[in-house]
């Protein structure tokens, strides 16, 4: 019995994707029928790629129909692999695209995570240029932005993207599905240089540990040296209650995020612009994260047309103690970074305090004073963080100390 399956998209309005129909056969080798809007430029390369993918998967006899609207090779390979797997034929391997530029670099535990850009996992055309909008992180999402019947397709696309694409200075994050499905997602992504795994709707330390253990297994099996960090997302009353347990579940947790759409539904209310209903949960997440020594990260702002609303929302998050904000559109990134940057007056005051602190330290004094006023240690700590942020965001040049002495 020939086994047949379809993957991907084509037709009116579809760009940079392709639709693949795979049909297994008993004999006759491989036949490929390609129609493509870039046939004259890339027809031959596409047919060669299709053959290689089938070979990697161990398929010997089959027909493949590809309707291509200008998909990049990593997408074509993903659609073919998905169609083959969906057909149910025995598969004896997998097809990994060649590693792209910058592949293999590790992340830093305490790097800035002001903005994280969500990219729907089955929409590869949005991935390709994401880094040029300079988010601190990109999130290839396998969870809510992917339709249930496309989960398998998104896994392959996201894995191929992690291999092939250069995300520049952006940290490479993947949001897996809610457990237990999410644990199987890890097999696809952990071997491909993922930096941070986001655990959605997280409600217990055990869930975090389960993810951490599965990652450890995969890292050992695949001899992966780079660490893979975790960012659990609190999206329920129970999750919020247990926030500290979650944040301190393993040392690989680097940040704790809050997701308010599900949270507000869970506590039986609706999300409002002023957000009084979620004040406790947000504050709880900030406190739990700080107590565990990880970064507190706020929810997304979902009205992409309202830049003033976004700015106000980020300033509020910053005032509550958050270090970062989620975004769903690249144009939100600059607004977020601008709002998280310390205000000029804040930087000026912090500079004076830091200088006074460093002078006191050099003189071996236990007490820091500015003029006649004594400065408490927490104020010094905050000033150090402000100066660090100002340096990282280019508000302060490295040589500011010289200019201010």
């Amino acid at each position: 019995m020939p086994q047949k399956a379809v993957a991907g998209r084509s037709g009116e309005g579809v760009r940079s994707d392709c639709r693949v129909i795979f049909e297994s056969a008993e004999t006759g080798g491989i036949t490929i029928a390609l129609t493509s809007k870039v046939a004259s430029m890339y027809g031959r390369l596409t047919e060669e790629l299709a053959s290689r993918v089938l070979e990697s998967l161990g398929v010997v006899h089959a027909s493949l129909t590809i309707d291509d609207s200008g998909a990049l090779p990593f997408v074509i390979a993903a659609r073919i692999e998905c169609a083959v797997r969906r057909s149910g034929v025995a598969v004896s391997g997998t097809h990994l695209p060649p590693a792209g530029p910058g592949y293999g670099a590790a992340t830093e535990k305490t790097r800035m995570r002001r903005s994280r850009l969500y990219l729907p996992g089955n929409e590869p055309k949005f991935f390709v240029n994401a880094a040029f909008h300079e988010p601190d992180a990109v999130i290839l999402d396998l969870e809510d932005s992917v339709a249930p019947q496309e989960k398998d397709a998104a896994r392959v696309v996201v894995r191929n993207a992690l291999r092939a694409l250069d995300f520049g200075r952006a940290e490479r994050m993947v949001r897996i599905n809610q457990l237990p499905v999410g644990l199987d997602d890890l097999d696809w992504i952990v071997p491909c240089n993922v930096h941070v795994v986001l655990i959605p709707k997280c409600e217990s330390a055990d869930q975090v540990k389960a993810v951490d253990e599965r990652i450890a297994e995969i890292r050992q099996r695949e001899a992966i040296e780079n660490p893979v960090y975790l960012m659990p997302i609190m999206e329920s009353a129970l999750g919020a209650i247990r926030a500290f347990d979650v944040a301190s579940a393993t040392e690989n947790v680097i940040a704790l995020a809050v997701g308010l759409e599900d949270y507000t539904a869970d506590i039986g209310t609706q999300r409002t612009l002023e957000g009084r209903e979620s004040f406790w949960a947000r504050s709880q997440v900030v406190n739990a994260a700080r107590a565990a020594g990880v970064q507190p990260i706020d929810t997304v702002f979902s009205d992409v047309g309202d830049m003033d609303g976004l700015r106000a929302s980020v300033l509020e998050a910053k005032a509550l103690g958050f270090d970062g904000k989620g975004c769903i559109h690249p144009r939100q990134i600059a607004v977020i970074h601008e709002a998280f940057a310390p205000a000029d007056a804040e930087v000026e005051r912090a500079k004076k305090i830091v200088l006074a602190f460093e002078e006191a330290e050099a003189a071996g004094l236990g007490v820091v004073s500015l003029g006649t006023k004594m400065i408490d240690p927490p104020v010094v700590k905050r000033a150090l963080r402000t100066v660090e942020l100002a340096e990282k965001t280019g508000k302060l040049s490295g040589g500011w100390r010289e200019d201010n002495r």
């Binding site: 200008g70 792209g100 530029p101 390709v128 909008h133 694409l165 690249p330």
Partner: protein, 520 residues
């Protein structure tokens, strides 16, 4: 169509030495071609031959064409101030077909998808070939080698030059006029079909043997302002409608929503600011196209923040430029065509919104023109090569896609910037060699992509000017290579036939490149 003899021009491109039976000079290099002759001129008219009461109205288009002496093989011109909403060109050739006339040369200032019905007239022999920018169905028809004659694509300035040179003699010009009087005075700013200005028809009104004004708003003499002077006009025809002005907002004149294009637009504006071009009293031009429009919005924001005002802005005017004028961010708009109804409205009411023509803005045979005086121009392109040569007329597969418009003429600006994506779908935009050469690299200064900004190495001054600005500057080759990796390798060259289906003229009338047949 017999294959013409090919010669290599100064850009190294093989081009036809003959176009539709007449000798054509190959491109000699920028600013080299200097014809030594007198301008062409229409025959002397005698006012005694025209009605002394000034009433030149005839019953319909057919009668006007008959009276103008329409016969086989003539050159008929129309204009594109209605862009995709033009109703006159189709009416003209329907009338010509009804009169049984054959082998006409259509000489439009541009054609649009709304002119697809002309294909029937090409098939039936009424129209022999088209000399003018072709896109959409007509571009496809021409590319597939179906037109009997060779297409000729010219810039707006090049069209004026061709008429002045006598390279193209217009037998009958038909000018669509939103308002006209019986004498033939006409304008585009008033009437129910107001579309802005009639600048593209200016050369035709002055140089054509016969001039017909077609209007759907005939008013009593005098029609003021008279953008077209009735003293050039032979006949006036009243039609139900000459055009649909709502369609001047077509395709390329809407602001982009794509985050990548917005990023490119923002980088372009930052370049103009950080290079020091954006200073008190400067000038710029942004073409049609979503990215160019977004650029103007970002630049306006930066001008506001810096407290800087422009002396003039060149349009293609639209709502965004009009807002800048109204806000005082620029003293003047010098407008070549209106891209939306806000532009039309502003031109009607605001004396600082000045209509211009290809003569003032672009003409190679003028004693100077405005294009070279503009501090920065922002233009589109379908391809750019690593030597900064650019293509604006064909797709990478060799098919005609766009007209030249004022694009070639604008390259003479003090700083020409092309904000373009580094690839579209799987089509690299930065390539080793452009499919069709429309603009020589020596005139293209900056290419802005989402992957970074490449400055032409010839412009050491610009490279210096943006040092330390934090702009993502990169060699153009690096961007090309990055995209080739993404696309799985360099693209195979287009499969093109030998047959030349269209010639691409440079602004001076020489042939800079040609388009070969693709497909059947």
């Amino acid at each position: 169509m017999a294959s013409p003899t090919m010669v290599e021009n100064a850009a190294g491109r093989p081009v036809p030495a003959e176009i539709n039976g007449e000798a054509a000079a190959p491109f000699e290099g920028v600013g080299r071609h200097r014809p030594k002759k007198r301008k062409a001129a229409p025959s002397v008219a005698v006012c005694a031959d025209y009605p002394s009461d000034g009433n030149k109205v005839v019953a319909h288009m057919k009668e006007a064409l008959e009276r103008a002496g329409l016969r086989d093989g003539m050159t008929i011109s129309t204009h594109h101030h209605f862009r995709n909403g033009d109703l006159v060109a189709n009416a003209v050739f329907d009338a010509a077909a009804a009169l049984g006339v054959k082998d006409l040369r259509w000489f439009p200032s541009a054609s649009f998808p709304c002119h697809a019905p002309i294909i029937d007239h090409l098939e039936s022999g009424v129209v022999h070939h088209i000399e003018g920018s072709m896109n959409g169905p007509l571009g496809d028809y021409c590319t597939r080698g179906k037109m009997r004659g060779m297409g000729v694509l010219r810039s707006h300035g090049g069209r004026y030059q061709a008429v002045q040179d006598g390279e193209v003699h217009i037998d009958i010009a038909v000018i669509a006029a939103p308002t006209a009087d019986p004498f033939g005075n006409a304008n585009g700013v008033s009437g129910p079909s107001a579309c802005g200005l009639l600048g593209f028809a200016l050369a035709d009104s002055e140089y054509a043997h016969k001039v017909i004004v077609a209007t759907d708003n005939l008013i009593a003499f005098p029609c003021i302002p008279w953008q077209i002077q009735g003293n050039h006009v032979d006949h006036v025809v009243v039609m139900d409608r000459v055009g649909d002005p709502s369609k001047i907002v077509s395709g390329t004149t809407r602001i982009t929503k794509s985050p990548d294009r917005l990023l490119i637009a923002e980088l372009t504006a930052r370049f103009v600011r950080d290079s020091g071009i954006m200073k008190e009293g400067f000038s710029f031009q942004a073409g049609a196209g979503g990215t160019s429009l977004a650029f103007a919005i970002y630049l306006a924001e930066m001008m506001r923040a810096a407290g800087v005002k422009a002396r003039f802005v060149r349009g293609g005017s639209n709502k965004y430029l009009v807002d800048m004028l109204d806000e005082g961010l620029t003293d003047y708009i010098l407008d070549g065509q209106t891209f939306d109804l806000d532009g039309v409205e502003s031109m009607r009411h605001n004396p600082r919104h000045q209509n211009t023509s290809p003569f003032t803005s672009y003409n190679y045979h003028g004693k100077g023109n405005f294009a070279s005086m503009v501090d920065a121009v922002v233009l589109g392109a379908t391809e750019v090569d690593v030597n900064f040569n650019a293509n604006v007329v064909t797709h990478s597969d060799g098919r005609l896609l766009h007209g030249i418009g004022g694009w070639q003429n604008c390259l003479f600006s003090k700083c020409t910037i092309l904000p373009i994506p580094s690839f579209r779908d799987r089509i690299p935009v930065i390539v080793d060699e452009v499919t069709t050469l429309c603009g020589p690299g020596e005139l293209i200064d900056v290419v802005v992509t989402e992957r970074g900004i490449a400055i032409n190495p010839r412009r050491a001054d610009l490279i210096d000017a943006v040092k330390g600005s934090g702009l993502p500057l990169r060699p153009i080759e690096e961007i090309r290579d990055e995209v080739f990796v993404l696309c799985g390798g360099p693209p195979a060259p287009p499969e093109r036939g030998d047959r030349v289906v269209a010639a691409i003229k440079w602004v001076d009338g020489t042939v800079i490149d040609c388009v070969r047949q693709v497909g059947k």
